[in-house]
Amino acid sequence: MKLEGKKRIWAEYQKDIPDDHFFYVRSCIRQTFFAGSEQTFLKIMRDDLGKDVFEDPRHTTCTGIGYHGDVVPFETIQTVVARHFALATEAGYRHIAISCVTSFGIYSEILETWKHFPETLERTREDLYKATGRTFDIPETISHASDIIYKFRDEIARKAKYNLADVSTGKPLKVVEHIGCHYSKMFPRYGVGGAEFPHVLIGMIESWGGDVIDYPERRHCCGFGFRQYLIQANRGYSLSASRKKFESMEPYQPDLIIANCPGCAMFMDRWQYTIKEIDSVTYGGDGQGIPVLTYEEVAGLVLGYDPWEMGLQFHNVQSLPLLRKMGIKADPARRFLAKDGSRLPEPANLING
């Protein structure tokens, strides 16, 4: 493997990621399944990096799930996204920070459509105005939230309390990076590092002291595909795609998977439980499963955030072995305690529970 070759590609696919003043749009899935990730992003941005990130409670779903499930027409989703842009315009923001990879793909697709077919932009302006009375400016930039953490990865590294390394051996942790398909496979120029060798998560892993695993099924979809999980009969496809990835990365004995897509983080985590039930197989070097974390969660760990405040306990594969490796002291008994000390319902069948 020649790193120089990858660096050449990375240099070709650099994008304009602004330094400050973001209009943040949340993700339906992330808010539901691991809401701590988005809170962690906001905390890092505001408290650690001192950035201005604005949210508007009137922001809605982008309807991407419906769009990819063929129940929301393209005209409709363009109008919904135009409304998001209108909210940003009204608030005086020109840079959109997008939490969800599906939304990021939707925004990219719509902006490209408007660029190549200007009549669709005019039609959307008309539709939005008729429906809401709103007008909008096209944002100067759109960044996925992982782009922004990537941009500030070295600043985060300088503030780091922990590294992606095993404190008992001093060796870097072996980290799998998984990029959501809609991040750059459709429009390589929109992603840091392009489609074939994206750098967005690799850059973070390198800056925070880990070793990146490049395994044969690195590019393969996690299996999240909307049609695959929305239709119950198709879920076998989803499971088999994730399993293919786990089998391919298994020889490298990874300590951790980092994902930048809501669906990937969820399915690569949850399917490990399913595979354990079906095949009695638990992946990972120590047979304890492979924790699947978001980039914000990993950044939070590096910065010394409380894992339970970030909600790491709500992943199916629990992170206790990973925390021990990194030298992070976290009392497992506190995992399912609410702020007031009362006990929260504890999920069943956790791996490493």
């Binding site: 493997m1 120089e4 070759g5 990858k6 050449r8 490049d214 690195r218 590019r219």
Partner: protein
């Protein structure tokens, strides 16, 4: 019958340029042969053996070298042609160092560039150790040693057709014509050198358009057991043993295929040369949708440039093999002489 000795500049000292220069000089014309590299010969210099008969490339190199050993030919090397324009009865050729040559006619033979395989990012050329191009495989043949980067004999080699050809993603819709038969020839050479090595060709169509190509293709299967799989490789990666893993759809079997390889050879296609592109832009010469020089007529004006006294020879107009390149260069000479006589 023929005009008195005239001066012709030939831009490009590859196969077409050398043949054209030799033919003109043979007729008594004065020729300035301008080659941007340090030695004439073009891409042929890198080739070990030629299809369809495995003739050593050195024989053709020798022929062309002799062809330009003529007192009527002055060879300029290490310098390119910047611009060509017609003025009065003359053609003025400006070289890249600013020198202007006044001549009676010019032949453009700027040839082709090999497709830069790094542009097909999914194949990992320049990243994975054992991904090489067909030109680099020729270097291995010349050295007499086909090995992986760690010096081992490959047990399985894959030849990937149409890299940079017939591919909208890289803006090359054209077929480069010679890559299929080159793959067949190279597959046979690998099997001859390494009888224990399995060889697989991954192709879209086998375009065996030239004489004896089909026979060579058949021989590769019947005598040398080369395997052909119809399908385009979608991606390459490496496993923990640094062995290449490719994904391809076997379109005849109708199923996806994953295979490990020790060596992957990319059959890189032909593109309009960068030097030719610059020359076209500077000289106002038209290029076709394939970005090669556009000729006056596809059927009976295939050497005409649209600029009086300037003619095309060889692969600057389209991909072609050596046989056709030499024929095309001779035709360019015929057109040039007719122009000089009629002027």
């Amino acid at each position: 019958m023929r005009a008195t000795s005239k001066h012709v500049v030939v831009a490009g000292g590859g196969v077409a340029g050398m043949e054209a220069a030799g033919a003109l000089a043979e007729m008594g014309h004065t020729v300035s042969l301008v080659e941007k590299e340090q030695n004439p010969g073009g891409h042929l210099l890198q080739w070990h053996a030629l299809f369809p008969d495995h003739r050593p490339a050195s024989e053709v190199k020798h022929y062309l070298k002799k062809r330009i050993e003529n007192e009527n030919i002055t060879v300029f090397t290490g310098i390119g042609v910047d611009k060509i324009r017609h003025h009065g009865h003359e053609v003025i050729v400006t070289l890249t160092d600013g020198t202007a040559i006044n001549a009676d006619a010019a032949i453009i033979a700027t040839g082709f560039d090999l497709f830069d395989a790094r542009r097909k990012e999914e194949y990992g050329y320049g990243i994975y150790d054992n991904v090489i191009t067909s030109a680099e495989l020729e270097d291995m043949f010349t050295a007499g040693k086909v090995t992986t980067t760690d010096g081992k004999t490959p047990s399985r080699v894959g030849l990937i057709h149409c890299v940079g050809s017939r591919d909208e993603k890289v803006n090359n819709n054209h077929c480069s014509k010679v890559c299929c038969v080159t793959a067949v020839k190279q597959a046979i050479e690998i099997r001859k050198q390494l009888p224990g090595t399995e060889v697989f060709c991954f192709y879209m169509d086998m375009r065996m358009y030239g004489p004896y190509y089909e026979e060579l293709y058949r021989e590769s299967q019947e005598v040398y057991n080369v395997n052909y799989i119809r399908g385009k490789v979608s991606e390459a990666s490496v496993n923990i043993n640094n062995r290449l893993v490719i994904k391809v759809e076997d379109t005849l079997a109708g199923r996806p295929l994953k295979m490990e390889l020790d060596l992957m050879v990319l059959m890189v296609g032909m593109e309009m040369s960068q030097s030719g592109t610059r020359l076209a832009e500077a000289s106002g010469l038209k290029r076709g949708i394939n970005r090669f020089f556009e000729t006056g007529d596809h059927h009976f004006g295939n050497n005409l440039s649209g600029l009086r006294g300037v003619f095309y020879a060889g692969t600057c107009t389209a991909p072609m093999n050596i046989t056709d390149t030499i024929s095309h260069a001779r035709a360019a000479v015929a057109e040039t002489v007719r122009y000089l006589n009629d002027r």
